[in-house]
Every structure is written in structure tokens, then in C-alpha cells.
């Protein structure tokens, strides 16, 4: 009996404690994402991973709302006349989460690590950075192989990891010789950063929990969340329920049209939208029949109904003009744009070498299972292509499997529909990640273009330090791609998020949009007001 009483009392106490903590107003920010997320800065590169890096790590420079680099860990920098030597002067008051100071050694280690591993954002630096030199504790120097114009903006993706911590957690032997596994296993579930938030718990399949870094070197407003949860679901019914119960502050961007309407109708919930420079592509495999035939690809480009997509499936978006989003610096407005014209489509199809065997050919179209609206595009494509006699097989594939199959030329399907965002706010970024040979085995390219001329032209453009000249070269490249027709350029995405407008203050929703993927999810700029949340719950 007595034991029972004690137990009951302790349960009561626990419940009371829980309630008190809740009523006291924990500042929690919960955001849903398409999963999985990789919090190792040398591995991840998608939306959820990038959003996690911004919160866990610091960079030398930080983008402003125009995408221009501003001092962050680096207070100032110099560049040599030939554009190949970049020297950065660091602050001396930045500390990692375990208390060790951030020094030039850590910057060098981070650069060496990401270029050795070569995954994630590694392609921004591999083959580009020749070496990193530690000049003194707080001065670091990068030597580039060739002058690279947008180098500063790529440094948004050099997340500085704690050298001592990673070294202490290296597993040997590993694939990187003396560096063993380079701490990959450790960084899969832990952070080694100095950022405004730190990993508290990471259940890889479900949820990433981060807490505020009390010793962050920049002031974090009191209203910024104490705890940030990245939740791995995009399931519309779940999102709706969580939003209605105020258990979710910002939704993912992948909700279907019907769900946005329902979310918008909820009290205190608003939908915000901005053009982040992301475009939606139908990536055509240019090395696999029948999409290896340019006339076949052009026929599809003429037959597709772009207008229905921007009007009915993704309202608010605009039809793309070429491979670069229209909001991205460096976009060329004179690039050719396809529209639906069945006569032209049939004419191109007749020129195709597959014209005589259309009935035996099936084009395989893979769409991402986590984004229900993509099925509408897929079925529209199927219906459009049926009109000119092309058979399309539509397959729903989970994101994880898509990433896997796109790593290999043989397993990549004829068509994949994917959103791709620039990694740094310039046309060169999207041109590189979409069509450069080095990105062919990643999820950002299904085309397997492997075009040496294009690679050379792009490398030349990127080597140009003068901005105006660089942009002129970007324009040429956009025309070049358009002639090859390796993709269908559907639309520039409007990124929508439902958020609890009644109790959070989110700069991006106010129009202060940073045009670099992930940076609008920097929790330190988002303010959460638990008392307003309470009021909303009581009112409801």
C-alpha cells in the first residue's frame, strides 16, 4: 500500500512539474522537414541539413538579405591581385560548444576535412582550394588553384568544426587513411560547432533536438527559442494536426495545395511565401534511351503544359526561363523559353530516332514520394505525352531511394522531378550543381551531361573575379544549356511555409529573406512568445 502511495505521489509530482514547466513558457521552435538530415557539414547538403548547419555551426562570412557576404567569424579579409590567395582575419572571442576557442587551426581542419571527404558541399572546394595555411592563431589563408570569383559566397558553406573534438572521436581504420573515418560516425549524431544552438538529441530517423548555446559570442535575443526541434515528417494530416494543437511553429514547404488552404484557414496561422532562387526541374537522363535523343527531349519540352503547372498545381510560382531561377543574380532574361505547342512537338518527335518504335518505348518518370504535388506534375506529364504518343511510366519513389539511384548512371531513371536550390546566391552555383560533370553522381543532376565544353566554359566563368564579366559568361552558359535541352524547366518555386503568426516573429515572413538555402531557418533570429501561444490555446 505504502509503496503504491509513494508511486502515485511521485507520478503526481512529475505531472505537476511537467505542467509547471509548460506554464512557465518554454520557448520551443518546431519545424518540419523532408528527412533524412545529415548534420555533418562534410556530408549534408539538402534543405534540412543546410538549415541544421546554420544553427549548429559558424562560418567565416554570413550572407545578408541581398546575398552579399558580411563579416562573421572573420572580421575582414584580403585578396591577392591574381585572385588566388585569400587571407581572413578571425575574431578571438569565438568558442566551440565544449569551450575550446575557435582558431585558424580549426578553419584549416574544416577545409581539409570537407575536401578530403568530398561529399555534401565538398564539391564547392574540391579541385578549387589548393591548400590552407595557418598564418597565426587568428589568421588563415586559402590558396586557390585558379582565381575563383564567387569564393566568398561559397564560404557560407564552410562550417567550422572543432578540430580537437573531432580528432578525439576518430574511428580507425577508416576510408581516409591516417584520418580514419575523419569523425564521420561521431558527427552523424553529434555536432562539433560553435553555433548559436547545439545538438541535445538526434534520433536519426525522426527528430533533431537542439538547445540554445548560452555562451554564444553574439547576443541572442531572449525571445529566441531555447529549444529547436527539426521534425522529420511532411505528412499533411500530421502537419495539420500539429499546427492546430500549436505543437508546430513552422511547417515544411512540401505541403500539397489542399493542405495550404486548410492551414491558411486556421486561426493565428499564416502562410508566407518567397522566391528563394529554387527551380523545379524534370531532369532528363541524356545517356539513357530514349531521353538520350535531343529531338525526343525537345518533343517533350514542346508537348508539356507549363501553364497548368504554374496556374493550378503550384499557384504563385512562375514558369522558369532557362536553368537559372529568375530571382537569382546572374540570370539572363533573354534565354529561350518553351511553351506548349503540339505541332512543334510532333515535328521534333518525327526527327527522333525512336519515332518508329514509340509503342515499344516507355519513359520512366520518378517523383518524390514526400512531395504529393509532384504526382500531379507526373500525371499531367503522362497525359501530355500520351497526346503525342509517348508512353510514360510514373513511379513514386521515397527521397532516400532517389538519392541512392541517382548516384549511379545505370540506375538513374529517364526522368526525375526535383527542386534544386543554389548553394550560393549566383547563377554559377546552380549551373555548376546542375550540369557540371563533378555533380553528375549527386541528386542534383540526373542528366549525366558530362559535357567537356560546358565544363570548360563554366570553369572559366567561375574563375572570373570581375562580377560583370562573370555574369556575361553565365548568360552564355544559359543559352548553351537551352540548346542541349537536357531538362524541362518547369517553374521558379515560391517557397511557402505555414507558421504561427500569432506567437512567433519570423524575419523571412516579414520580407527579410536571405537568398541562401537554409539561412532563413536560423533560429536565433526567430522570436517565440509562449504567453501568446497559451492565450491562443485557451481561446481555442
Amino acid at each position: 500500500m505504502r509503496r503504491g502511495t509513494v508511486f502515485a505521489l511521485s507520478v503526481l509530482a512529475l505531472v505537476a512539474f511537467g505542467l509547471a514547466a509548460w506554464a512557465g513558457g518554454e520557448r520551443v521552435l518546431r519545424i518540419t522537414f523532408a528527412w533524412p538530415t545529415y548534420i555533418d557539414p562534410a556530408v549534408g547538403s539538402d534543405f534540412s541539413s543546410s538549415s541544421a548547419f546554420v544553427n549548429l555551426y559558424d562560418t567565416l562570412v554570413y550572407p545578408d538579405v541581398n546575398g552579399d557576404p558580411q563579416p562573421h567569424v572573420a572580421t575582414h579579409w584580403e585578396v591577392s591581385e591574381d585572385g588566388t590567395v585569400w587571407t581572413f582575419y578571425l575574431r578571438d572571442d569565438v568558442y566551440f560548444h565544449d569551450g575550446t576557442p575557435l582558431t585558424a587551426e580549426d578553419v584549416k581542419f574544416s577545409m581539409d576535412r570537407i575536401t578530403t571527404i568530398g561529399e555534401g558541399y565538398g564539391f564547392l572546394f574540391v579541385d578549387r582550394v589548393e591548400g590552407t595555411e595557418v598564418v597565426d592563431d587568428y589568421t588563415v589563408r586559402f590558396y586557390l588553384k585558379e582565381p575563383f570569383g564567387p569564393f566568398l559566397t561559397t564560404l557560407y558553406r564552410l562550417y567550422i568544426v572543432n578540430k580537437d573534438l573531432v580528432e578525439a572521436n576518430i574511428k580507425r581504420p577508416g576510408p581516409y587513411g591516417e584520418w580514419g573515418d575523419y569523425g564521420k560516425e561521431f558527427l552523424l549524431t553529434h555536432d562539433a560547432g560553435s553555433g548559436p544552438y547545439m545538438v541535445k538529441e538526434f534520433r536519426v530517423e525522426e527528430e533533431l533536438v537542439m538547445v540554445k548555446n548560452p555562451n554564444y559570442w553574439l547576443p541572442i535575443p531572449e525571445e529566441a527559442p531555447d529549444e529547436v526541434r527539426f521534425i522529420g515528417t511532411t505528412e499533411p494530416a500530421t502537419i495539420r494536426t500539429m499546427m492546430a494543437r500549436r505543437e508546430l511553429e513552422i511547417s515544411d514547404q512540401w505541403q500539397p495545395q489542399e493542405a495550404w488552404k486548410a492551414l491558411d484557414a486556421m486561426e493565428g496561422v499564416d502562410i508566407t511565401s518567397f522566391f528563394p532562387g529554387t527551380s523545379f526541374y524534370l531532369m532528363l537522363h541524356t545517356r539513357k534511351p530514349p531521353t538520350d535523343d535531343i529531338h525526343f527531349r525537345r518533343a517533350m519540352a514542346w508537348a508539356f503544359d507549363y501553364e497548368t503547372v504554374v496556374r493550378d498545381i503550384f499557384p504563385g510560382s512562375i514558369q522558369s526561363r532557362g536553368p537559372v531561377a529568375q530571382s537569382l543574380p546572374g540570370h539572363d532574361p533573354t534565354v529561350f523559353q518553351f511553351h506548349r505547342d503540339l505541332d512543334k512537338a510532333r515535328e521534333e518527335l518525327r526527327k527522333s530516332k525512336y519515332y518508329d518504335q514509340l509503342d515499344q518505348i516507355e519513359v520512366e518518370f520518378h517523383w518524390i514520394a514526400e512531395v504529393p504535388d509532384e504526382e500531379k506534375v507526373a500525371l499531367l506529364f503522362m497525359a501530355n505525352m500520351a497526346e503525342i504518343g509517348i508512353n510514360v511510366k510514373v513511379v513514386k519513389v521515397p527521397w532516400m531511394s532517389v538519392v541512392e539511384e541517382m548516384a549511379n548512371m545505370k540506375t538513374s531513371p529517364n526522368i526525375v522531378s526535383i527542386f534544386v536550390a543554389p548553394h550560393y546566391p549566383e547563377a554559377g552555383s546552380i549551373l555548376e550543381s546542375r550540369y557540371h560533370s563533378s555533380s553528375a553522381p549527386t541528386w542534383e543532376q540526373n542528366e549525366w551531361l558530362l559535357d567537356e565544353t560546358f565544363d570548360k566554359m563554366l570553369e572559366d566563368a567561375l574563375a572570373t573575379v570581375d562580377r560583370e564579366e562573370r555574369f556575361r559568361k553565365y548568360a552564355e552558359l544559359q543559352h548553351y544549356i537551352m540548346d542541349l535541352c537536357p531538362s524541362l524547366f518547369l517553374f521558379d518555386q515560391v517557397e511557402k511555409h505555414a507558421y504561427q503568426a500569432a506567437y512567433i516573429d519570423w524575419p523571412a515572413a516579414r520580407g527579410e529573406v536571405i537568398p541562401v538555402m537554409g539561412y532563413n531557418m536560423a533560429a536565433r533570429f526567430i522570436k517565440v512568445y509562449p504567453e501568446k501561444r497559451e492565450a491562443l490555446l485557451k481561446g481555442g
Binding site: A237, E258, P372
Partner: protein
């Protein structure tokens, strides 16, 4: 009396059967559902209001319309008429049931007969232990495993279900056959030197038919349900195939606001499965009474 022709006796037997069957009104309801579903499936292209909506068709202008006179069951998120797609969906469900049963019943029954007749020999051990292995794995799990290894399609879904279904018939017939083998008529046939083939298929099998038949009509519903479950998780029919399970899965995302997208196909599955189950119950009553 040799005057009355065979067909007259058969008619009389049928009348008696129908009387016994119809004494249970629930069985008649089952029969009605089955006939209705079969009729709609057979004539879907002629009676569906928008037959083209079952194929490669989209019309986003009319997407997610609630039920109305124009679309009695509403439209889905692609603007397709749900009623028409349900009619065509019945085709895939029935096809699934018929194909699977016609694939599993013959081998299942034959193996059961052999194992039952040779009870106590290594033949029985071999057949029944293999059967046990298949029975040990939950049916849906096995089908899921097979389907996810193969590329998802209606054909592969049917193969996967067939693979897990035959042991049930082997088990059933094995039980019947092993008791029937001790009956006098079987022993009499053995004594007169009848061939094994004759004994198995002319003496034992006819006495198992009623149970097999009952099980088949009960299973029809289950097979359709498992087929729908496979489609629901994306391992069965692929779009734009109007499969009922897929329709429910797609519609479930839009609950509860656009309830009609999921609810009507779900009801359609329910009616089909319920119909076959009630019919199966009716058959069981019918044969059970005859045996008395």
C-alpha cells in the same frame, strides 16, 4: 424411376439449395453485393459517367470537387471522377481475387491431397513442413517483402499474394484427405486396385470440394483486402491505374476536408469484401446442411 431426366433432378437440387441458402437473408445480401460489383466491373466502360477518367487524364480545373450531380462521388485532386474510377477499380479488385485464387487453389489442393493420402511417409513430412514455413510468416509481411524486392506492379502484387496463399489450401485439404483416406469407400477402391490417381482425384477430391469452395469465396474478400493493402503502401497498382487501395491511400492525405476522395473508394472495398464474405457464409450453411 428412370423416367425423370437428369436435368430435372438437378433443377430440383438447385431449388432445394436455393431454399436453404435464401433462408439466411444475410447470404442473399452478400450475393446481391457480389452480383452488383461484378456487373459494375464488367460494364464499367459503358455505365461509368466518365470512362476516360480511369486512364491518363488530368483536369486540375475540376480538382477536389465535393459530390454533386455532375460528379456523384466528387472528384479527386487530379480532377478525375471518383465514381467512374471506382467502377474501373472493381475490375482490378475482382481480377486480383480471381487470378490469385486460380493460381493458388490447384497447387494448394493437389499438394494437400498428396500429403493427406501419404500421411506418415516422408512425402507428407516434406510437403507439410514447407507449408508450415510459409504459414509461419504473417501473410501481409511476406507479401510486402516480396513486393518491395520486385518492382511494384499489379502483376507482382498478385504473384506475391499467391506465394503466401497456397499453404492455406494445402493445410485444409490435407486435414480432409487424411481423415477421408480411412473411409470405407477409399479402402474399397484400394482393394479393387484403383490407381492412386483415381483414388486421389475421383474418390477423395469430390468429397473436399464443398469445403474448398466455401474457403474460396471467403478468401476472395481477403485477397482483395490484402491487394488493397499492398496498393495502399504503394507496392501494388501504379498510377494512373484506378485501384481502390491506391485511391484510399491518396485520399487519406486530404482527410477530413476532402473526405469523399478516400471514403467512397473505402466503402467500395468494404462492399466487395463484405459481399464475398457473406456469400461464403451462405455457402458454408448450404453445404453444412447437405452433409446432415
Amino acid at each position: 424411376m428412370f423416367k425423370s431426366p437428369t436435368w430435372q433432378r438437378r433443377l430440383e437440387g438447385f431449388r432445394r439449395g436455393w431454399y436453404k441458402f435464401s433462408r439466411n437473408p444475410v447470404s442473399v445480401v452478400g450475393l446481391f453485393f457480389v452480383l452488383l460489383v461484378s456487373f459494375l466491373a464488367a460494364f464499367a466502360p459503358y455505365i461509368a459517367p466518365y470512362p476516360e477518367h480511369a486512364g491518363r487524364f488530368v483536369n486540375f480545373r475540376e480538382a477536389s470537387q465535393p459530390p454533386s450531380l455532375k460528379h456523384p462521388f466528387g472528384t479527386d485532386v487530379f480532377g478525375r471522377d471518383i465514381l467512374s474510377r471506382i467502377f474501373f477499380g472493381f475490375r482490378y479488385s475482382l481480377m486480383m481475387g480471381v487470378v490469385v485464387l486460380s493460381l493458388v487453389v490447384p497447387p494448394g489442393v493437389i499438394l494437400g491431397l498428396i500429403a493427406g493420402y501419404y500421411r506418415g511417409t516422408w512425402i507428407e513430412t516434406l510437403i507439410m513442413r514447407i507449408t508450415d514455413i510459409f504459414l509461419a510468416v504473417p501473410p501481409l509481411i511476406l507479401a510486402l517483402a516480396v513486393c518491395s524486392v520486385l518492382t511494384p506492379s499489379v502483376f507482382n502484387a498478385m504473384m506475391a499474394i499467391s506465394l503466401m496463399w497456397w499453404p492455406w489450401y494445402t493445410r485444409l485439404v490435407y486435414g480432409l484427405a487424411s481423415s477421408l483416406k480411412h473411409e470405407f469407400f477409399v479402402q474399397a477402391a484400394e482393394v479393387t486396385g484403383a490407381s492412386k490417381f483415381h483414388i486421389l482425384f475421383r474418390e477423395i477430391l469430390p468429397n473436399c470440394v464443398s469445403s474448398i469452395f466455401t474457403k474460396m469465396s471467403l478468401d476472395m474478400g481477403w485477397v482483395i483486402l490484402i491487394g488493397s493493402a499492398l496498393s495502399f503502401v504503394g507496392l501494388g497498382a501504379q498510377p494512373p491505374t484506378p485501384d481502390l487501395g491506391t485511391m484510399v491511400a491518396d485520399g487519406a492525405k486530404y482527410l477530413p476536408d476532402q473526405w469523399w476522395i478516400a471514403v467512397f473508394p473505402a466503402l467500395a472495398i468494404m462492399i466487395t469484401v463484405l459481399g464475398f464474405n457473406l456469400l461464403g457464409d451462405g455457402f458454408r450453411d448450404l453445404f453444412a446442411l447437405e452433409e446432415i
